[in-house]
Amino acid sequence: MPARQLAAVARHAAPCFRIEEVSGDRTVYEHRERAADAAAGGDPRIASALASISASRLVQHLTTLTGFGTRFSTSDGFRRAIEFCSGVLGSSGYQVTQQAITVPGHGMSANLIARLPGSSAPPRLLVTAHLDSINLAGGPAALAPGADDDGTGSAGVLEMAHVLASLGAAADVLFVLFGGEEQGLFGSKQFVAAGQGFSPGAVAGVVNMDMIGSDNTLDTPGAPQFGVLIEGAEISRTLVEKLSASAAAYTSLDVTVSFDPHDSDHFSFIEAGIPAVLTIEGEDAANHAIHSANDTMDRVKPALAVEILKMNLATILGWNAQPGIRLSQAATAKPKEKLMPTHRQCATVLVYLMNLEKHPSLRLRQGSARQRLAMSASSIVPKPRNIPVVVHILFKDDADNISDAQVHSQIDVLNKDYNMTNADLGAVPAAFKPLIGNPQITFHLAKVDQTGAPTSGITRKKVSVNAWGADDKMKSTTAGGVDAWDPNRYLNVWVCRLGDNLLGYAQFPDGGPLETDGVVITTPGFGVGGTAASPFDLGRTATHEIGHYLGLFHVFGNSAVPNCTDSDEVSDTPNQLGPNFGRPSFPTMSCPSEPNGDMFCNYMDYVDDVAMMMFSKQQVSRMQASMAVSRPNLGVDPSV
């Protein structure tokens, strides 16, 4: 019996599995040699169309999906995920409907169904994934990011829907995101039973994606970089062969096929006599992070997901019996221009993952898959951090050569704000008090410099520059500033006069070169007393910028124009139209969907120093995860 099947039976005792003796001459998993399936390089028009698949868009969507805490089928996080996906699919031009489903023992959930408006004929192809996640050990409320299982498949559905629509090739395709999969395939079973939006007899194939982004072969000597399992049944053999051929023609995937379906939503279709196939990452049984809080973004390799998406998309585009797909148009049509983003881009995680793609050594640095798993775990079990800070003071006028006392005042503010001991915490409106999070991060001026010599943690340099731009020149000795101390060990803070009325700026984790890592604060916005000027004289600019440095976005999103649809990638800060300024009063309502209005008292808004006084719990989780992934050695050595 395949390992995954054994494990699944052991874990779930799920009703859709059976224990079956396998005869000695029966092939359960068949490895396909690439030469046997090669299709002379494939159709160049299809190859051209596959270039429309966007890894960055996929990661953006996946990042949002993992930000809901849990997508347990009956949870608020699942409901928010449904709303998010509805928005994305709507933006791609689809008409979106929901099918209410029951999840026995838990309550109501939903399937999300999308099709282009005006499509009259029954859909011939279905593209599916399950949107729900689960933490088996922790229960329904426990953290279950479900990055690979099945955030990757869900983000893959969104991406395929986007690309097919932009290519004018989506008319005969129905897209479905299921709930209730983890509890026993309830969403797909009830979808098939209801026949909502499709006619079983008209369906030529169902392409289900469940876990398409974890490279589980890293520890296997000589293993190919990317593998995929195409799993169907005899009824879906044609589709299995088409997918296998597409993989050979358009991807670098190492293909294994199986005709023993189980453990995902394709099984519900096959039981109903509908040809369905599961596409899943190779060696999925080696992915031990699923169904736990450890199924996190850092385990996902977007390039693998893109390869599997290419295989699936090429199969749909090349489906000869699918008259709705106009290949010539698909290959030549210009993709629709991107409209307003529907959610905030997660540059931090995106850049991190893209860096992994560009620089495999970054991943190798993390070592084996086991070590990566440990890294994931560390993202939710935070280490104590006491971060050594070096403050580089650049001054033209002597009055800007701020005192040691002013520097110490800034460190004091940081220690209060990042440990929930700030005196104004009581001013947080009652509606937001339950959401206050405690980062438990402390800061101190560095005790030793890079050579090991004792230091005050403060450097000073007289410069000739009146006002610095946001071009990082203050971070370079050759450009007139001061070089960073080793950013892997120190938080570098440059204090200088910034132009354009800018209070400060930061560099996200893995958001740029190591030598520019850190934050910049304008002299009148730094610390308390001295040069600090009202209303930014309480040291909160550094609190805000270090929030960015630790991976946080603004609570109001990243769009240059106001909107209520983008997100800061944490689930407990309300959506907010745009930044707040000054000293708002509660409630400040900017988005109708938020009953308590804006969390203007959050350090990541734009209000005056006196009006900001809290991080949220999910922001704290994000900071901790960010440090675990991107700054593993910062603040852990007590001798620095």
């Binding site: 409209l339 540059a347 354009d500 209070l503 930014f536 910028e545 960015h548």
Partner: protein, 96 residues
């Protein structure tokens, strides 16, 4: 509206103004919008890490203002004069 540089303290919900004079400190600095006669625009706005970034694109006249479309697809909005010296920029809703 055209051929001028509009400014505001950072933040999408505030109007731009062409008024001269000092601007106040802001967490994202001063944002600017220049609508050029050749149909191009440049908006300098606070980025997600507060570092200013330039958004460039083209504009076209619409009934009550100018519709802006950035080259990278990140911005689609309409700029409208709501008073003699107040320019509001609001997003265009995605087409369904």
């Amino acid at each position: 509206m055209i051929g001028r540089t509009w400014r505001r303290p950072s933040g999408g919900a505030r109007p731009f103004t062409s008024a001269a004079g000092p601007m106040t400190l802001s967490r994202g600095g001063t944002e600017t919008l220049s609508l050029q006669p050749d149909g191009r625009f440049v908006m300098r706005a606070a980025g997600p890490d507060d570092r200013p970034r330039d958004i460039v694109g083209s504009w076209r006249a619409v009934d009550d203002g100018a519709e802006l479309q950035s080259d990278d697809g990140s911005l689609r909005a309409v700029a409208r004069l709501t008073a003699e010296d107040q320019l509001f920029v609001t997003p265009v809703e995605p087409k369904k």
